[in-house]
């Protein structure tokens, strides 16, 4: 008796499911239909290069996460630059590097009627909707460090070309290990936009014939969490005893990896390289844990971002290719393809020059 009811229920359910699938499958919405949906119109205003910088502009920096020392340096420099030309700026943001957390911050910044929002996007797509909403209300959007979708911001301040960073990291590593041996990458989160772009270029660089004896054996993810990065480093060295080098293209990862190496028997045997800040890495460069690492000047990144936001809000630029604006001590800057402004090539830090920097 029971089992018959069961069979009947089961049969009915499968019939309904099959019907639903059939109906849905026939005339559905697929990716092809919606390609053009998201494309918005953004820049239509006229730029007036001679317009003076407005006084009392309100700027908000929305970093990937607020407790990241590198982002702090960028934002503080940006806030100082803003005060330099009579505006006011603040830093707000989530304590986790999650895409969704930034969205509620954008919504509140719109409510607070900021003149411009500077954002280091955790996910180029997730922040897009709210940013477009802000642009509709005449709030200027500058992305820095990590870009948002092209349609969702006016200008992107690129710290250095992604290609230059990715290929440069491999070149620096290759030099130190004589183009031979296994290497691994210690990245941030699995979905981090920047890191993934750089890793793509690293892999491409490694395809060149001169690196035929180098092999990328593993990409580990430390989630930009110090402890996790520390453990992942430990794991990499255990799993690959022949490992010659680790590249960590994130400041959190590099510092954690250096801390592990400096206290282990691998110190001086495994080459470490990547992106880091001088203050975090000074100790390890001096005690010989690693010879060099690189980074662009984060203070200039925040500085340039602030000036770009002011130029946008004052109407000097609209974000079109070819427009120029005055960026204080950094001089005249030109907007390149896709609204990108490139800060400049990264600096390589080693024990000879590290004491010249304080950030």
């Amino acid at each position: 008796m029971r089992s018959r009811t069961h069979t009947r229920v089961l049969a009915a359910t499968s019939a309904v499911c099959a019907l639903a699938l059939a109906v849905a499958g026939c005339s559905g919405t697929t990716k092809g239909d919606s390609e053009d949906d998201a494309k918005g119109k953004a820049h239509n205003a006229e730029a007036n290069p001679d317009a003076p910088l407005k006084k009392g502009l309100k700027l908000a920096f929305l970093p990937k996460q607020i407790n990241n020392p590198y982002m702090k340096v960028v934002d503080q420099a940006g806030i100082k630059a803003t005060e330099g030309y009579g505006g006011e700026a603040k830093e707000v943001g989530p304590s986790d590097a999650k895409a969704s957390s930034q969205v509620s911050y954008i919504n509140t910044l719109i409510q607070q009627r900021q003149d411009a929002i500077l954002i280091a996007a955790n996910d180029p797509n997730a922040v897009c909707g709210p940013l477009k909403q802000a642009m509709k209300q005449d709030i200027k959007i500058v992305s820095y460090d990590s870009d948002a979708g092209k349609d969702c911001r006016h200008v992107f301040i690129n710290q250095a070309g992604s290609e230059a960073i990715g290929r440069g990291l491999v070149r620096d590593m290759a030099k130190q290990i004589d183009n031979k041996g296994q290497i691994a990458v210690l990245s941030a989160t699995q979905n981090a936009t920047n890191q993934n772009t750089w890793i793509t270029f690293m892999k491409d660089e490694l395809k060149k014939p001169k690196y035929k004896d180098m092999k990328l054996v593993k990409t580990a993810y430390g989630d930009d969490v110090d402890q996790k990065s520390f453990q992942e480093t430990q794991g990499l060295l255990k799993a690959y005893p022949k490992l010659k080098g680790i590249i960590s293209p994130t400041t959190v990862g590099l510092a954690a990896a250096a801390r592990y190496l400096s206290g282990s028997s691998y110190k001086g045997k495994v080459v470490l390289g990547g992106l880091g800040t001088p203050n975090q890495m000074r100790k390890y460069v001096k005690d010989g844990t690693l010879d060099q690492f690189s980074l662009w000047d984060p203070q200039n990144l925040g500085y340039l971002g602030s000036y770009a936001a002011a130029a946008l809000s004052s109407g000097q630029i609209t974000g079109k290719e070819g427009e120029e604006f005055e960026a204080g001590k950094l001089g005249k800057r030109k907007i390149g393809k896709d609204g990108e402004v490139i800060l400049g090539p990264p600096t390589v830090f080693d024990k000879d020059n590290i004491d010249d920097y304080d950030f």
Binding site: C17, G28, S34, I110, Q111, G129
Partner: protein, 352 residues
């Protein structure tokens, strides 16, 4: 007295609670006023009024819409979670299932499947995931906390397998518009997902407080064995709850994906704790057998409104977390303190 049947009735049915139980039995009118969920409702209104008075832009319709929409996944997940916790269970895998559903939607959409087909597939995955939880809890007999911590990792891992480190965007505008905070029910500041939540909450409230199924859940949560011998199909009911929880998580995953326009394997990471916190803040007892759906809804809204208010006031995220944590501890503490106090007074009265 024809007040709606509440947890107190079930408590009687469940019989024999320790002295720590809420004293709905003897307290009458006063105890009813002292109920935590009612107090929470009052607190919610107070926070709302205070926000309107002190913070610029808070009472703005656009702000309220986006604040409400920002809590919608938590709100949706809190409904089945309330039922589970009342029955003495918990499902910590909901946020991972949300991520899996999102990743699956992204992967299939990227592969050129129709969105109308993706929806039922994701929902079905949710049901299957929920059934796995339920099966392990009811048939294998493992505690739900342990099982769902396991599937929390399992489903998130599957999400990473399905979509890897990709992020899929460009979902169809036809559907995405319904998930945004800018599209509201005409004449109100209520975004559509939240309107749907209101309907579901009303339905869940009826189920929990007005049906024999709901009353059985209270009985299971209070005294599982007694419930079993009273003829309640304990295992069947639990299985159903886990399946519904999985289904809702998969649905919330679709809402999340459309709302942010981005399918990723790490979507909703860590959201399960916010959901459980909201439910507990709403006065639902983690030991099971006590709580109201209205309280849980008030808990969700309070956390949402408070976060929005603090963000508007430029209060740093760390302080926000501290405020929510403090509130949670208070919510667990106060009903117990009240219970102990009333218990003592009763004993004194009885002695004199």
């Amino acid at each position: 007295m024809n007040a709606p049947p509440t947890s107190d009735d079930a408590e009687r049915a469940g019989s024999q609670r320790g002295p720590g139980g809420r004293s709905g039995r003897e307290g009458g009118g006063i105890a009813r006023l002292l109920r935590w969920d009612a107090a929470l409702g009052v607190l919610l209104v107070a926070v709302f009024l205070a926000g309107t008075g002190t913070t610029d832009g808070f009472a703005d319709a656009a702000n309220l819409s986006s604040a409400l929409n920002d809590t919608v996944e938590i709100a949706l997940l809190a409904l089945p979670m309330t039922l589970l916790v009342v029955a003495g269970q918990v499902d910590l895998s909901v946020a991972s299932m949300l991520g899996l559903s999102s990743a699956l939607a992204g992967s299939l959409w990227d592969g050129g499947w129709t969105f109308e087909l993706i929806v039922p597939i994701c929902l079905l995955t949710g049901v299957l995931g929920g059934l796995l939880n339920g099966w392990l809890v009811t048939r294998v007999g493992l505690p739900s906390l342990a099982v769902t911590i396991g599937t929390l990792a399992l489903y998130r891992g599957l999400a990473s397998v399905v979509l890897g480190n990709k992020a899929v965007a460009d979902f169809p505008e036809t559907y995405a518009q319904w998930a945004r905070s800018t599209e509201t029910v005409p004449g109100t500041f209520m975004p559509y997902p939240m309107a749907l939540f209101a309907v579901l909450a009303a339905a869940a409230s009826v189920v929990l407080h007005r049906t024999s199924f709901g009353r059985s859940l209270f009985a299971i949560g209070a005294q599982e064995e007694v419930a079993y011998f009273a003829g309640i199909r304990v295992k069947r009911f639990k299985l159903v709850l886990f399946a519904v929880s999985g289904l809702m998580a998969a649905f919330a995953g679709l809402v999340y994906t459309l709302r942010y326009g981005s399918a990723r394997a790490d979507n909703g990471l860590g959201l399960e704790l916010t959901v459980v916190a909201s439910v507990l803040l709403g006065g639902v007892d983690f030991d099971g057998g006590k709580g109201t759906l209205g309280g849980a809804v008030a808990g969700v809204l309070l956390i949402g409104v408070l976060n929005n208010l603090l963000t508007l006031g430029d209060v740093s995220h760390e302080i926000q977390v501290i405020v929510t944590g403090g509130l949670l501890i208070v919510s667990v503490l106060i009903p117990r303190v009240i219970a102990v106090l009333t218990d003592r007074r009763h004993r004194r009265l009885a002695a004199s």
